[in-house]
Symmetry: C2
Amino acid sequence: MSASSALLTDRYELTMLDAALRDGTAQRHCVFELFARRLSGGRRFGVVGGTGRLLALLRDFRFGDDELRFLRDGKVVSPEAVAYLENYRFTGSISGYREGELYFPGSPILTVEGSFADAVILETLALSVLNHDSAVATAASRMSIAAGDRPLAEMGSRRAGESSAVAAARMAYIAGFGATSNLEAGRQWGIPTMGTAAHSWTLLHDSEEDAFRAQVEALGTDTTLLVDTYDIAKGVETAVRVAGTGLGGVRLDSGDLPTVAASVRAQLDELGATQTRITVTSDLDEYAIAALAASPVDAYGVGTSVVTGSGYPTAGMVYKLVARQGADGGWVSVSKTAEGKGSQGGRKTAFRTLENGVATQELVEVADGFEPLAQPSEYPDARPLQVALVVEGEPVAEYEGPAGVEAAREHHLRVREELPIRALALSRSDPAIPTVYVDADES
Amino acid sequence: MSASSALLTDRYELTMLDAALRDGTAQRHCVFELFARRLSGGRRFGVVGGTGRLLALLRDFRFGDDELRFLRDGKVVSPEAVAYLENYRFTGSISGYREGELYFPGSPILTVEGSFADAVILETLALSVLNHDSAVATAASRMSIAAGDRPLAEMGSRRAGESSAVAAARMAYIAGFGATSNLEAGRQWGIPTMGTAAHSWTLLHDSEEDAFRAQVEALGTDTTLLVDTYDIAKGVETAVRVAGTGLGGVRLDSGDLPTVAASVRAQLDELGATQTRITVTSDLDEYAIAALAASPVDAYGVGTSVVTGSGYPTAGMVYKLVARQGADGGWVSVSKTAEGKGSQGGRKTAFRTLENGVATQELVEVADGFEPLAQPSEYPDARPLQVALVVEGEPVAEYEGPAGVEAAREHHLRVREELPIRALALSRSDPAIPTVYVDADES
């Protein structure tokens, strides 16, 4: 992979840019919007993910020698377009929802403003990052709600592409998980990491007892021993015999978890290891977590389902031109009108209306022109949802890096509290609050 | 993202390494195996993906200053383990299925041999790459079979994490697609790229006619015009009026495709544009492609479903210790035996038995010891499935880079011909051929 992000782009964006440079439309001022037409899987809310990563990738969105050579030699675009791209950097502005914010159908998650040339070529990169990361964030938030106060760890790296795995670990943490198994997520984003031993550790040794003894010697009695390689009851007995009743925890990675957890808890208590925690890690998703609420489980490790969005691995967001300057310089709202896949043209300003602290509407004001809108006077408690993310080409630093991750997590956990109770149920339903479009002239 | 791949690793692998360095088991010679217990989604065959990428990532699997500092400062492992990792490079060997090869439950897709320290820390990286890439490859191969002779293009980058998108484009090509929209996949892997214009191109202009005229002027009459921004019939009429009857193609991205394709074909023929091709690109998967077989469609563009494995975004492969040296230096076959998630211990050699060129069995010989096995004499037509991928730490170059991609594609299309007819159906079923385990002593 090149250090440049500029070719993480669909070819048609450069083809359009090329043609627009020829006919002069490349310099038309445009507003593109990134939004979701619906919430995948009948979810009741979506969680915005990836914004902080996108800002970092934007900094690397430059066409270097390798990229330009590929475009030139492969005749992807004309020599004139290659010359233009040589000096390209995004000089427009992006406003949008903060990472960790909730979204609903039609929420203007990102608004990208600039010349057509500036904005059209960010389509694929912006969608790749936000679709993937928001899908993970939405699933992770539901799991975090289902887990309540019990700690959750993300351990699904092996079930996701190796770079997406790092992004997924980051999103799970923002959406309420407490730790990840992924070390690169720890290094790069400051996420707490965890992990002790796999079945291979036990199988490596001549006996389970040898394995447990070596682990306790290396990591102390507070470690977590994996007790289901051979016979679980014998494994628990050996674990307590080796580590003593002060053993930190045992992990169960197979079997019918409610049954196994109950019998392991009873056995641990009987052996005097009443403070030893039980972590379960076998094929969990939000439904399995909810079903274990009454079981004596102390912590969950979630793999496949969180990194793959629990059945919905992409959020289905789209990137559409919603307004542009016309030949006369005036603003025109635009949208596709053929049957299917329609959308709402015009630049938008979004608020979440609240009553007694509980969200009631996603209020989206649609402007014909370009001016930012004021707080709607009829909703004094409405919370404005958009912030400046990129100002004249410069990403706003506070949303980037490990500090951006911590801020996004804090923001997510705070705004999740605004959801009405019905939003917390796991079953398929309509969005928890309706999206209401208002013409800006009338608001 | 660091240029090193060494922290694309679950923490427990380093924790085990650390403990194994203390108790001396780190140097035990081990055999790990990467395999799938079952085929996801009732598929009738799986396609191995990612091998060539894994070899490249292995070359970068070194702990540099950034990685070591993180492990040291975060106290992830002991100072002794940090010192060991400073000089780590994989010096073991890997044999396995070629990329593009088919696999079935229990196929020994990768066999990783080396010291425990060598082999244990590749678990996450190997699984991340192969689980993701094989899921995409398997879905893509089914789509390629459903499309028959009609060309298929991959255009799902926006629905996958930005790096996984490049890997997905690569896998779709290996599994039979002809092109991708993803430019980085073109640059890095030599995949043919394609793409002309989005709805934003039409919306940017003051009229659809202006947009079509500018595109034809820039790209010639052989281009493909997107005709469904406003009214499709008017769009087709305008397209032929602007480009003439020599127009290369039209693209349809919405609506009920069988109906729309038929009416657009009739309109094009009536206008004299009998050679103008119709490309469809709206929410296709293998089932939709199959359902369009009788429609006048000339090419397909597939997005979301191929990059997300058409409902199964991960292949569910696991990485297990299957044999190791004991305290006496002798070989021991090992496997987890607790209820659920069991596996077959022992080093394995795999053949695909054929009758009249048609696959009949996945024959897996299980050895107690370590010696490679000869062709089983009772199956003269059996095709050996494993090749050397990494020899004493050195990746075999022929499987890497763009040349490796071309070889994998050729191999896939060739071995797919060996499948029995029933393997080509799209409905859920058992694997197309059974996996038969044979004790090596008896073969």
